[in-house]
């Protein structure tokens, strides 16, 4: 994916560029708001990663300007300001996701990839499928190998989110935000327990596992049998 990083901290930016390149993406970098805005406007990007505090034009202003001119490129906001109201301000300015510093690279990568793929599916699919696991959104039914699997409502939503981002890494924070709509930091491994319950329902007893743990990052549902 073509990713533009607008970040004024040299070291952080270099690290990001290197890591994203290693992950197989095509990153570019601007170190202030004005240049960043210019680059964002004049090229096609899959995702923008914008730091809030920038010289010459701050991050939120860059985003607002882009949105005002009709640019809908997904934006991930990075910021040391991590309180809920900062998040709200950032999203209101036109950002699509918000990540507070310091962050784990795996978290950023997962979110960037999810944001980048968002454009691809414009129509709402009524059926999601990974391998032989099928989730019917309308009928609220889940089957694997043709056999029905009974899930609680929350488990259903959890599986739905994973399958919507099939093949992508989904972090625990992303799950908490999107499936439970909360933004706090749990101390216990609360998400892991829900995942292992889900796993025992959709993977146990079947030929191969679809729900994978990605060490240091999160989870991913994918058909790895091929």
């Amino acid at each position: 994916m073509r990713i533009l990083i607008i970040e004024d901290d040299r070291e952080a930016a270099d690290y990001l560029v290197k890591a994203l390149r290693e992950a197989g993406h095509n990153p570019e970098h601007a170190d202030n708001g004005e240049d960043g805005l210019e680059l964002a406007r004049s090229n096609q990007w899959d995702v923008l990663v914008v730091d809030r505090m920038l010289p010459r034009r701050d991050g939120l202003s860059v985003i607002e300007t882009l949105r005002a001119s009709g640019n809908e490129t997904p934006v991930l906001i990075l910021s040391a300001l991590s309180q809920v109201d900062d998040r709200v301000t950032g999203l209101r300015a036109g950002g699509d996701d918000y990540l507070s510093k310091p962050y784990a690279f795996s978290e950023l990568l997962a979110r960037v990839e999810v944001l980048g793929r968002r454009k691809a599916t414009t129509q709402v699919e009524t059926k999601l499928q990974v391998g032989d696991l099928v989730l019917d959104r309308l009928a609220h039914k889940v089957t694997r190998e043709g056999k029905e699997i009974v899930l609680q409502p929350r488990e259903f939503r959890l599986l739905e989110y994973l399958m919507k981002h099939a093949g992508q890494v989904v972090t625990r924070t992303m799950l908490l935000e999107n499936v439970w709509d909360y933004h706090f930091d749990p101390q216990t491994n609360v998400i892991d327990v829900h995942i292992s319950r889900l796993r025992s329902k959709i993977d146990k007893g079947f030929e191969y596992a679809l729900l994978h743990t990605i060490r240091g990052a999160g989870y991913s549902i994918r058909d790895g049998s091929h």
Binding site: V88, P102, D185
Partner: protein, 498 residues
């Protein structure tokens, strides 16, 4: 600044001057208005009287000529309170009338128009030798006679002087009133403002423990003093919080930082295998993450305690939040062998922040899971979450059947980084309760820690276990009096009638 200049610059003095000036202006206007209108009215009446007389006398003149006129005048002059008459011949000799002296030139203008003249009356009252004022009409009759009809303006002038006296008296009275106003306003009212001002100064320069006096008559000044006291409570709280945060940062964050540093330094000193180095780096990473979490939690607490701007207290459904959190933690509890039961009643909405309230609920439940295990390994651990509305308060309670918190520790545990010895084994930063307390305070609520009430009478149920309650008011109230004010009032036994 001399004493005089100081007095002149006070609001009391300015107020008094303003009152005096405006009332003077109004009074003068009023008096002039009355005076003029009365004057005009009386003048009109005099003119009417004169004209009526002229009418009558004209008829006499028409019938009987000058002699008839003279007879008419002579008859009228004899009645009491008579008008003024004068008939003179061409040479100026008086033929009849009741005027003894008149300025010469007056008779010259004899066109019949109204004139104001001073005259001397014919001596009925000998003591009144001063000239008086009159309104007259003078006609020239055939034969070069001059005929004057008029009326004395004595009454009018008397009234005018009466009004003048009244005005002077009134103005004098007003100066006195202004003086009293100045005295009253200065002494009682502005002095109170000055006192409040000086007391605030003293408190700010001192140790912020003092509070302003509230006299208890619930007037504007009392309200001002009460609200200023609440502000002082806040300031004291903020300063205290700030000190605590910096103390905590100094101690509790430097310790893991030192540890990390030591580890990295040791690793640099030794030759390590690839695996050892990897393990070391991973451990360092884990500790860094923990530090970051602690930092974030501290920041969040500090901002919530400061009543941070941007926290949106909109209406939230507490039942939905608690239900979500319980559902989130139910599997965790089950894995730990703990039964999590819910007893949530329908409750009114509270004014609150959804995220913060969720975080507080999470902390309560996490605490119960981590520390709420019964000592006796055979007793099944259970956690009971309840939500109830009692009048205009909503009570969220989380009960466990663990060892509880000893009464003497209950206040201390809400401070940052305090962990009871019985809890040191579990992972955590010791910030859970302090965040709950900060959130609860922000919502004008209360955090209560008490012993679990045993509902059932099965064997071995002493009341052990912790019951943690969050009590929230339904309506967002204005913050009430804080600790500082309560302490001060108690020490100074000031009564506050609210």
């Amino acid at each position: 600044m001399t004493a005089l200049t100081r007095i002149l610059s006070t609001t009391a003095f300015k107020l008094a001057v303003i009152y005096l000036a405006s009332f003077t202006a109004l009074s003068v206007f009023l008096f002039l208005f009355i005076s003029k209108n009365t004057d005009d009215l009386m003048n009109r009446q005099v003119v009417q009287t004169i004209d009526a007389e002229i009418q009558g006398l004209a008829e006499q003149y028409a019938q009987n000529g000058i002699n008839g006129l003279i007879v008419g005048v002579e008859r009228r002059v004899r009645s009491p309170n008579a008008n003024l008459y004068l008939i003179v011949d061409y040479a100026g000799n008086v033929i009849t009338g009741n005027i003894s002296y008149l300025p010469e030139k007056v008779l010259g203008e004899s066109d019949g128009s109204i004139q104001f003249v001073s005259y001397t009356p014919m001596g009925i009252r000998s003591e009144d030798v001063d000239s008086r004022s009159a309104m007259v009409r003078i006609f020239e009759l055939p034969g070069n006679f001059k005929f004057l009809v008029g009326r004395d303006l004595q009454d009018q002038l008397h009234l005018k002087s009466l009004l003048g006296d009244a005005l002077s008296l009134w103005l004098a009275g007003m100066v006195v009133l202004a003086g009293i106003t100045w005295f009253f306003v200065n002494r009682r009212i502005l002095k109170r403002i000055d006192n409040l001002s000086m007391s605030s100064r003293q408190i700010m320069e001192g140790d912020l423990a003092g509070r302003l006096d509230v006299t208890g008559n619930n007037d504007e000044f009392d309200r001002l003093a009460t609200n200023l006291n609440i502000m002082l409570d806040r300031i004291e709280g903020l300063m205290h919080g700030l000190k605590e945060v910096s103390d905590n940062i100094a101690h509790d964050l430097k310790t893991p930082l030192t540890r990390m540093r030591g580890r990295v330094e040791a690793a640099l000193r030794h030759d390590m295998s690839q695996e050892e180095a990897q393990a070391c780096l991973e451990e360092t990473l884990v500790e860094t993450d923990e530090l970051i979490n602690t930092f974030n939690a501290l920041l969040r607490i500090a901002r919530v305690e400061a009543g941070s701007t941007g926290v949106d207290l909109g209406p939230v459904d507490l039942k939905a939040i608690v239900s979500d959190v319980c559902e989130l933690y139910e599997p965790v509890a089950e894995d730990e062998g703990i039964t999590l039961s819910m007893d949530l009643e329908e409750a009114a909405e509270v004014a609150g922040d959804r995220e913060l309230l969720a975080q507080a609920t999470v902390n309560l439940i996490e605490n119960a899971i981590k520390y709420g295990r019964p000592k006796n390994a055979e007793t099944a651990p259970n956690i009971r979450v309840a939500l109830k509305q009692v009048h205009d308060e909503i009570i969220l309670s989380v009960e466990d059947n663990g060892s509880g918190i000893p009464e003497e520790d209950r206040e201390r545990v809400c401070n940052r980084f305090v962990r009871l010895d019985s809890a040191r084994h579990a992972p955590g930063s010791g910030l859970g309760l302090s965040l709950i307390k900060a959130v609860v305070t922000l919502h004008n609520g209360k955090l209560r820690l008490c012993s679990r009430m045993s509902a059932d009478d099965s064997e071995n149920t002493k009341t052990s276990g912790l019951r943690a309650e969050i009590v929230l008011p339904i309506s967002a109230g204005i913050p009430g009096e804080g600790e500082g004010t309560a302490k001060w009032n108690k020490a100074h036994k000031t009564s506050t009638n609210t």
